[in-house]
Each structure stands twice: as C-alpha cells, then as structure tokens.
Symmetry: C2
C-alpha cells in the first residue's frame, strides 16, 4: 500500500502538472506563471521547487505527461482494432480524429508546446517519440497492405503512404486548432480515406469509410 504520505505527495505532483496543462490550454505558455500554477493547483508557492526543482522542470514534466496520455489513449483504442492492416489504419485515423484525442484542450496544449519546442529540447523529444511510435504502427500496417496489393516498389510505397497519412493527420489537427467551431470530424476522415482509397483501391473504399447511416451530400 502507498501510505497516506506518499499518496498525498503523488496527488500534489499530479495537481501541479494538471494545473500547468490547464493553464497552457487556456492562457498559453507565456501566461503560465508560477503564481498562476499554484493558484490553480490550490497549493503553496514552494511546492514547485520541492517536487520538481523549478518551473522549467515542471513544465517539462507536464509536456511529458500530456504526451504519454495521448499515446496511451491511442494505443488503448488500437487494442480494440482487428488484425487486418486496413482496420488498424482506419482505427488509428479515426482514433486520432476522435473527440477523446482531438479536442480543444489537447490541441491547444500540443501546439503551445510545439511552438516552444525549438527552445526546450526536452519538450521536443516527447513530441518526437510520440510521432515515432505512431509512425511505427502505421508503417507496419501499410507494409502489409502494399505487400498484399502487389504494389511495385513496395518499400517506397509503404514509406510514402505512411508519410502521407501522418502528414494528413497533422494537417487535420492544424485545421482543428484554427477552426475548432467549423471542424467536422467526418469530413476530415473522409478526406483522408479518399486519398487512401485512391492509392489502395482494393483495401480502402470510400463508402466503407463513411458510416452507413449518414448520406454523403450536405
């Protein structure tokens, strides 16, 4: 058992990290000060230095936490996917565009950290490993698809399809960042599958990508 002491300790650490993420999401990095953080966390000034050794380290820990959370969510979703590569790709795309992953809070946080990534190497690394793991999952799936489809230059085709899919997802996130109100998840995934269907007609079909319930035109 953890013991009440250790329990409180961890709880306060988490409260600080949560406060940073809330503040970054709402006010941005530049307005996330020590005062802002401790006020949100309802804790005292000294806690940041005590638990993390300084504000920068805390922010770094928060970035790490956020990154882990994102990937864990996506991986959990992927567990529920079938074995076929197209199912896995579809699950990743839909997962990456789902409310749970792609929402105002996450997007604000993600882009805020990215904007400062150039200067905070530690932050940039998490951003990297996240993308690295995601890339591996997608590349795996496309390797199999390409092999099954007998596409010429299989290696290059799989790499390009992976590259393109990741870029498309990235672009959709940016869309959401800039126009959260107008953003349409269905449209975003339809666009991606339209590209994929054109590239691998035997594995992806446009209609299959659209939930049967909803008609196309609007």
């Amino acid at each position: 058992m953890p013991g009440k002491r250790e329990q409180n300790r961890e709880q306060n650490r988490q409260a600080l990290i949560g406060a940073v993420l809330d503040s970054v999401a709402e006010k941005g990095i530049s307005e996330t000060s020590v005062s802002e953080i401790i006020q949100r966390a309802g804790l005292s000034r000294g806690m940041i230095h005590l638990h993390f050794g300084g504000k920068d380290k805390l922010v770094q820990a928060a970035a790490h936490h956020s990154s882990e959370e994102y990937y864990d969510g996506l991986e959990a979703l992927l567990q529920t996917a079938g074995d076929s590569p197209q199912e896995r790709v579809e699950m990743i795309v839909r997962g990456d565009l789902s409310e749970r992953v792609l929402n105002r809070r996450n997007v604000s946080i993600w882009y805020a950290f990215r904007g400062e990534a150039r200067n905070r190497k530690a932050v940039a690394e998490y951003s990297d490993t996240r993308d690295g793991r995601l890339r591996g999952m997608i590349h795996n799936a496309f390797s199999r698809i390409v092999r099954e489809a007998g596409t010429p230059d299989a290696t290059g085709a799989a790499r390009d399809a992976t590259h393109g899919t990741l870029a498309l997802l990235e672009g959709m996130w940016t869309d959401f960042l800039l126009h959260p109100d107008q953003f349409d998840r269905e449209e975003a995934s339809r666009v991606i599958f339209r590209f994929l269907a054109a590239m691998f007609p035997t594995h992806f079909s446009l209609k299959g990508a659209i939930p049967p319930k909803q008609a196309r035109a609007r």
Copy 2:
C-alpha cells in the same frame, strides 16, 4: 520622394519588426523581451512605445509582416506558373516546400505564433487569411481538374482534394519543424504527388511530378 525623416522612421519600424522575428525564430516568443528586441535592433527602449504603442502591438505587427511576406513569396512564384490547373497545383506545392518559403526561420516563426494564436486573436487572424487565400488558389485549380476529369460529385471531390492537399502541406511543414536536418524536399513533394496521382491519374503522374515533358496536354 519620402524625405529623410520619413525614411528613417520607416527604417526603424522595419528594424524593430525584423528584430522581433529574429528573436522569435531564435529564442522563441517567451524569451523575446523588450530588452532583447531593442538590443537586436540597435535602437533605444522608447522606440517600441513610440512607433507601435507597446510590445504586444509590435509583436502583432511582426506576425502580420511575416504572414504577408509568406504569401507574397508564394504569389510571386505562382505568377510564373502556366495556366493549366495541374501546373498551378504543382507550383503551389513546390513553392510551399521550396527553400525560400520553407526554411528554419520561417517555420520557427510560424509555429511560435501558432502556439500562441489561441490567446492573441490578431495573430490568429493573419494565420487565417493566409490559409484562406492559399485555399482559394488551390480550390480553383482542383475545380477545373475535377471538371476535366469528369469525376463524379465534382463539387465534393474538388473540396476534398483541396482539403487534403492543404493538410498534406501542413503536415510537411510540421515534419520540417521537428526534423529540419533529415527533411527531404523531394521526398515531401513526391509523397504529395503520389497521393494526387492516385486520385487524378489523368492529370498527375508520379514521374511527371519530377519535371515532365508531358505537361500541358490538352
């Protein structure tokens, strides 16, 4: 003629804007202070208040300037493109990925502002109008392509192709931000054209994406 007075005035305004952009590119927004700016510009403290009425306004002006610069560069490039829609798309894609537009400085600046865009509405607007103009240019081209190709549901197809192409470009920029050393412009545009070729086989060919002689078929 402008007069030496007005000339100096404008020169100093530009020096301040340039200093902001340099600092943002190198150190990030959070480390871009008034002291940093005036030191880079080689001017005195009071100039920021005199010419722009405060630091925030200056930063806003810098964001505007950067945005204009980007679009002007792209538009200039587009002037040299032919009339055919595929040529125009190709020019936009290649232009957006060219050294002149996509370089460390621009990318750092762009993402730094984006990261804070949520809080600085004025900054977000420039980001928006930029994308709006770009979107218009691409959509125009795809509308013609779709019509020529006789794609079913022409309106939706053009919109999706536009959406996807913009997302792809956006994704490539992110690639560059995170891995400027490993980034390969040729690969990036090849990936994009691979997707476009799959979607519009009659207008884009993968080999044709590497400067074609086949162009302008009509």
